[in-house]
Assembly symmetry: C2
Homo-oligomer: 438 residues x 2
């Protein structure tokens, strides 16, 4: 009998491996930060013993959810401006607010709130595009979450962060060098979009991505406005343009992909580009609805992203799953598309794959890191239970997430963050609110 650090028992265990069948009364043996073994509770307890055995009845256990696109620090602009056109939203509200407030201190405090919200809704890894990522990395590490932090690049300087365009690349390389062997942080580079980054800046970002083998993460084909701008400028679609300048590889994460031609979809499939689908943000900004069933049929890996809380207005991947699974049925007229298993696969394994962490997280499998979510099913809105996948996709809410492990460590224990003081994080949000509101 081998002793392990922790055994997690589950009435329903979803590994998201193989044929996705449910392990009833399942268990996971965890040693340090790693999943050592997976099976039924009877099998696991024949081989392993532990002083720490988590949960049991009425619990479902599944891999930590992966948020493949966000601007975490923008959580401080949640609800600052809603129900207005995109350009007005950006130009009159978001950009002025960022210009006025974005700073190392702002990012430090805001990222704390974003991570708290994400962890308590079962998100264990988030992928980000923003500035001051070395500050963010320290907070993400302190709070104990996994972050794929993309240092932003844009064609014009940003006071306080990049006094010249050169600085974006310097900051990105510094971030990558500092965190390239980190346990929790995956540094990467994140040019903003084809309409704000020149081909030259994209090529430089791609060289850095190739040199260090880190992801490159950018907005693609979000709005019709963007499509017409890129057509005017380059005579191409954004996907064709990025392909022509050599950007599309497996390291590339294409965010949004709302307006795609059939040829664009072929290109994305051929180049094995991963797509981050941010349906709630796209709906709320009236950008449109990405052709996800077509992308999946073409063999493109699609995962979910929340985008920033200023346009969503939350950071819940459970919400994205439910919205996407429902909306794509009505849009395609086919109730079989994006079924509940596919939705959870996109939120876990596909998510890890497209951000380059497929070997490390995204499923519950011996050898992978223990990023695990335990949810409580003993709730009115989750009763009765016939199909556990259906419940996770269509009925589960962030408040059902009870316990969360990242890298083998319990970071949320019975809905309480173990690594930082929640009241302090909320208090800081109220302080910033008072300043920003003025």
């Amino acid at each position: 009998m081998e002793t392990v650090d922790c055994i997690i028992r589950a009435e329903y265990l979803l590994t998201m491996e193989g044929d996705l069948s449910v392990i009833n009364d399942g268990a996971i043996a965890i040693s340090s930060d790693t999943i050592q073994d997976v099976g039924t509770f009877a099998e696991i307890t024949k081989k392993y013993s532990s002083e720490k055995v988590l949960c049991g009845k009425n619990k479902v256990v599944f891999p930590g959810l992966i948020n493949t696109h966000s601007h975490a620090a923008m959580v401080y602009f949640r609800g600052l401006a809603d129900d207005i056109p995109l350009q007005e939203w950006l130009e009159k509200h978001i950009w002025p607010a960022e210009g006025k407030w974005m700073s190392a201190e702002f990012v430090d405090d805001a990222v704390g709130l974003a991570c708290l919200e994400m962890l308590k809704s079962g998100v264990t890894t988030y992928t980000d595009q923003y500035f001051f990522q070395s500050i963010a990395a320290k907070k993400v590490t302190k709070i104990g979450m996994r972050g794929v932090l993309g240092a932003g690049v844009i064609d014009f300087p940003f006071t306080g962060y990049a006094s010249s365009v050169e600085d974006y690349f310097t900051n990105a390389e510094n971030l990558i060098n500092e965190y390239k062997d980190d346990e929790l942080i995956t540094p990467c580079i994140a040019p903003h979009a084809t309409y704000t980054c020149s081909p030259e800046n994209y090529r430089r970002a791609n060289e850095i991505s190739a040199k260090y083998n880190v992801p490159i993460h950018t907005h693609v084909a979000e709005t019709q406005f963007e499509i017409s701008q890129i057509k005017d400028r380059y005579g191409k679609t954004p996907v064709e343009h990025l392909d022509a300048i050599g950007l599309l590889t497996e390291r590339f994460i294409a965010v949004h992909c709302v307006w795609l031609t059939d040829k664009d979809i072929e290109i994305l499939a051929e180049r094995k580009v991963g797509v981050s689908h941010c349906i709630e943000s796209n709906l709320k900004l009236a950008s449109g609805i990405a052709p996800v069933p077509k992308l999946l049929n073409a063999g493109v890996k699609v995962a979910f992203g929340t985008d920033g809380a200023a346009s969503n207005n939350d950071l819940s991947i459970l919400g994205e799953m439910s919205t996407a699974a429902k909306v794509h049925k009505a849009i395609s007229g086919d109730p079989t598309v994006l079924d509940s298993k596919t939705a959870l696969l996109m939120a876990t394994k596909n998510g890890a794959d497209i951000i380059g962490l497929g070997d490390k997280v995204g499923s519950i499998k011996a050898g992978k890191k223990a990023d695990i979510v335990i949810a409580n099913l003993n709730k009115p809105h989750l009763s009765p239970i016939y199909d556990i996948y259906s419940h996770i996709t269509y009925s589960m809410r962030p408040s059902d997430i009870e316990t969360v492990l990242v890298n083998g460590k319990v970071v949320v224990d019975n809905r309480t963050l173990t690594t930082m003081d929640e009241a302090e994080i909320l208090g800081k949000a109220r302080e910033w609110q008072a300043k920003i509101k003025e």
Copy 2:
């Protein structure tokens, strides 16, 4: 100084009256089941005192949410069958399950679970179409919720409830006679749909509705399949058909209204028919998306319904608000449609108006019944706060609803039902699950 039974204090008080402006540090004075006065906390406490003062800081208070369409007892079929076409869903899963299980005992137990779920998500009134409503009425009364219970009518008998079609009408009149002066229950009549009810049965239902002045509640234009069936049978759209047989009056609640012509919209507006919009069910069954912005522009009153949990898969009106406010923006390409104030108005005042309870509930106003929701804003996903309407529509979750009053009585106190044992209700759901699963 007058003594009242209860004073509710709120950091943000939304009455949903007048210009919808927020009362900061507001208060409500309640005597017995009725709202006696509304104002700032300073104003109210100058005039009234009470031994019971509820809440204060970090709380938002708004009228109880109104669910204008459901089949509450179907909560026991939640997740029984998903991701399959509508006809297969109905014919192979739902109808056989109803045929096998629907009974007085089933309805009694299932309605308990549905009411528990609704109350804990801030829904204080629900409108229903089902059978055994006299059984449901007793459970709704016991749990302390408000119900507009529609006795179903359909062209063929249903063993155990109606041995002939005549029985549907007898059951409906009995229900109406028993509950017509009830405090919590509004009895009504609910023919199923134009493709399952003959013009003759619609006319008889309408006579009963007129005789007792109670609502008549039916499915209209839900699917394209229905549109073509009614076209074949009557040479008309469902709305034209119902208008031709004299059904469309202010007492009429038209549920779904997904497939409407411009002429249909004109007719609905002219006849002052209320529309129950069930977007999540319509999306999930791939039925389509109702033209809500057009209906609102035409002056039609639209409110939200969850439909049954078998097709949704929950009974949350907050969820309907968020989904509708986002989806209609993308469909219309206009981010200003269905703004957050409109969404809350639809979920409260419009809801009460279309089900004939506009004088009694739906807003916080002296003389109306005290159906009131208190939500906790001290949450990561509700921080910071700039626009309270935005937060309720786009960021609030059922778990933020802390305390709920119906008819002046606290039925949910700090997330616990006060009127029945929650564990017993969940236990019954597990018992039925075991039977139904076999």
